[in-house]
């Protein structure tokens, strides 16, 4: 975890919808973050290994590799020790997809965001999950 609240938090966001990506850009435009935004789970796995994000936000429904599939791979990487710094994992999903979220909770996530979200509130939501899990 990144314990220094003055240093930038590295946040990796995965969502294939360009309109949603722009809302994340707007909502997380503070200097508090260093952001990377990708459109599929494959890119998440590459950046998890090479860029070492503090937070990963994963949309469940994505092409090539879904957020759910990526979460499974992330858990594998973490269990084999291939990841030196574990990230706080937050899933993003539509309101009606409660079953999907339950599946993700079973695999192990730190929180979830319900879409559509308010870009004005998204930063606080993410930071809440981050600091709650930092204290554990």
């Amino acid at each position: 975890m990144n314990n220094d609240k003055n240093t930038k938090l590295k946040i990796l966001i995965a969502d294939d919808d360009k309109d949603i990506q722009l809302l994340y850009e707007e909502g997380l435009s503070s200097d508090r973050y260093e952001k990377r935004i990708v459109g599929n789970g494959n890119d998440v796995l590459k950046l998890y290994k090479s860029w070492h994000p503090d937070i990963i936000v994963l949309d469940i429904t994505m092409p090539i590799m879904s957020g759910y599939q990526a979460l499974g791979k992330i858990k594998e990487l973490e269990s084999t020790g291939d990841i030196k710094k574990r990230a706080v994992i937050i899933m993003a999903t539509a309101m009606s997809d409660e079953d999907d979220i339950m599946d993700c909770i079973k695999l192990g996530i730190h929180g979830y965001i319900v879409k559509p979200f308010s870009y004005k509130k998204i930063s606080n939501q993410i930071l809440d999950y981050y600091y709650k899990n930092e204290l554990r």
């Binding site: 919808d17 360009k18 309109d19 949603i20 722009l22 809302l23 707007e26 429904t61 539509a94 009606s96 879409k115 559509p116 979200f117 308010s118 870009y119 004005k120």
Partner: protein, 104 residues
């Protein structure tokens, strides 16, 4: 008597996303074309994906109606209900034609 479709629907949206709005609305216009094409090919899966996407983004841009239409579109595509899909595309088209956004 005035045709309802000529009446403007006024929606207030945060000025912070003013620059993003034209692109978002243009993408929904593209969705209309894409959904019609997909329907011609009975490609209900892609219609479902487009509905899902609208559902997840509309209210984020302050346009709840887009999310509502997306929700219904996703459901209609899952049920392979072409009549409902056609009606929803018309509804979306009308909405985009009538909407007047005020930035505050």
């Amino acid at each position: 008597m005035m045709d309802d479709k000529n009446e403007k629907i006024i929606v207030s949206v945060d000025v912070d996303i003013k620059e993003l709005m034209p692109g978002f609305l243009l993408n929904r216009q593209k969705d209309i074309k894409s959904i019609k094409e997909a329907l011609e090919h009975n490609d209900y899966y892609n219609i479902q994906i487009m509905g899902h996407s609208m559902k997840g983004s509309g209210s984020g841009y302050g346009l709840d109606t887009i999310s509502d239409i997306g929700t219904s579109l996703e459901k209609a595509a899952k049920e392979r209900n072409s009549e409902d899909i056609k009606n929803l595309v018309n509804e979306l088209s009308d909405y985009l034609g009538q909407i007047k956004i005020i930035y505050e």
